[in-house]
């Protein structure tokens, strides 16, 4: 037990060291920042699917809404980046609260369909609202100066800010999952009727998990807008909602590292394929989806953990 724990800690140390070294060993910082933003997004999603057993099929809506709100506030209203981020998180959490209240009235597959439909509604609002720039999206969002001192226009400074946010989110989710509250969430995932009969207000737990997850998804969206300088309709589109499911599934749902691995893999793959294969990107993503569901349900990290477990028991 203690040896796996130690090797686990060592692995985390190595990953963190790599992430800190990334800008100095020639990894393209904007790509790394984008991947980290999506890693945050996938971690938020995993908190729901992996630890609560709720499949939200419309998580892009919260990322997209926050991206637009932050983009507009920072660009057109002249807000500072930190206030823009905060506003994005608040909006996403608010939307999450409303949608969550509606969606938790049904379970399982219905929950997925309802969250998808509500997300599509938010998408249409993004398409038609006067401040979102319609099909073009919001362009030219300045990065600004964080807390009035850190010039985010500098890629290295921006990178370390994104990395700091990512680490903070990651630790926060770990803390949530290991807390008594997180244990109740797991109990709900395993056996909801039993959790109810034990006297837990299951709906309240689920709603809080949903709001937390959407708030973090919003943070990812706002951060992405600051990094890339734009918010577009694809941020709120259902295909992104599907991609975050894939990131989590491919990496390993219900593991801490899984969504991060999945996000880096998918974003890296898209980056690599973007100019090479055209519409085949969608086909390849779809094929990975099918493969994961049919034969790779534990995901990369899940398989690694299972492999380590088998080796230890031998």
């Amino acid at each position: 037990m203690s040896s796996t724990k130690n090797s686990g800690r060592m692995a985390w140390g190595v990953v963190l060291a790599l992430l800190i070294a990334a800008p100095f060993i020639g990894l393209y910082p904007v790509f790394m920042m984008k991947a980290l933003c999506f890693a945050i997004f996938a971690c938020a999603f995993n908190l729901l699917l992996g630890y609560t057993g709720l499949l939200s099929f419309g998580h892009a809506a919260y990322l997209g809404a926050a991206a637009y709100v932050t983009g507009w506030l920072v660009r057109s209203a002249g807000w500072s980046p930190e206030m823009g981020l905060l506003a994005g998180v608040v909006i996403a959490a608010g939307l999450g609260l409303v949608v969550g209240l509606i969606a938790i009235r049904r379970q399982g597959i219905y929950f997925a369909m309802i969250t998808l439909a509500m997300a599509q509604m938010i998408y249409f609002v993004c398409l038609q609202a006067p401040f979102t720039g319609g099909e073009d999206g919001l362009q030219g969002v300045p990065r600004g100066t964080l807390f009035g001192v850190l010039p985010l226009a500098n890629d290295t400074v921006m990178y370390f800010f994104v990395l700091a946010v990512f680490v903070a989110v990651f630790l926060a989710i770990m803390r949530i999952v290991h807390s008594p509250y997180g244990q109740v969430l797991k109990a709900i995932r395993e056996n909801e009727p039993r959790a109810i009969s034990l006297g837990y207000h299951v709906d309240r737990y689920k709603l809080l998990a949903f709001v937390l997850s959407t708030a973090i998804a919003g943070l990812a969206g706002s951060l992405k807008t600051i990094v890339l300088g734009f918010a577009t309709l694809s941020d709120a589109h259902w295909s992104l909602s599907g991609e975050v499911v894939l990131m989590t599934l491919l990496g390993g749902m219900g593991t801490f590292a899984g969504p991060v691995v999945g996000a880096f893999t998918i974003i890296g793959l898209q980056n690599f394929l973007a100019d090479r294969v055209g519409a085949w990107v969608t086909v390849i993503i779809g094929a990975i989806f099918v493969f994961c569901v049919l034969a790779f349900r534990r995901g990369i990290v899940g398989e690694l953990l299972a492999w380590a477990e088998r080796r230890k028991n031998r």
Binding site: Y110, A117, W280, F289
Partner: protein
Amino acid sequence: MSEIFGIPIQAFLGQLLLGLVNGSFYAMLSLGLAVIFGLLGIVNFAHGALYMIGAYVAWISMEKFGLNYWVALVLAPLVVGALGVLIERTMLKQLYKLDPLYGLLLTFGLALIFEGLFRDQFGVSGQQYAVPDALAGATNLGFMILPNYRAWVVVASLTVCLGTWFVIEKTSLGATLRAGTENPSLVQAFGINVPVMVTLTYAGGAALAALAGVLAAPIIQITPLMGSNLIIVVFAVVVIGGMGSILGSILTGVMLGLVEGLTKVFYPEASSIVVFVIMAIVLMIRPAGLFGKEK
């Protein structure tokens, strides 16, 4: 009387008809989803893609092979039904023992694959499909001009829907099917080949989607993305109706199409979200859906 609530009556009735047409598509698609869900326990996200493929089969058989609309009306459901058999046999079959969420995810992946393949082949711009000669033109009803093809779509799809309802609710084949939904192992014990029944059910649902695609082909732009945008609305329709009842899903589909049409008349900005708003309201009042049973 040439105006109703300040809207010219022609425009009003025109939108209402358009709503009815959309409603017929919602009805056909949500019916297929409900039948598949009933027996397989899978929410078929690929339903939209199958509908899209149906429309493309019509278009390709016209462009490349010179086959007319009436042939396509038979051919497309057969082709897509065969595709359905393939999907069920090779993939869905392996998922029945798992959480139903995996079925949704698998069919989502399939939808992406189909969409990507068609986008690669045909690009994203829309293709036109001519209205068949026999149904071209319009009939003057005195109070409005009724395009013949739209009337045909409504009549044809409602006939198909009611036919499906009749088969499932009133025939012995349907009784077996319903029994299979309730208790597959018992039906199997009576000597009925349940796996084949399941395959054919999925194929049937897929064929229905393809038929809707052919019916839609002459009145919409045929694009690879036409299915996905529609299927999300159909999901909302299914949630509103509740998946328990066949007649319920037909009725809900038509009703929501009409509501959408009316919204286009009075408040066009909201027409794309009105179905979702209704879904939210229904869930607040009656979580099981209008025709669903609380489990």
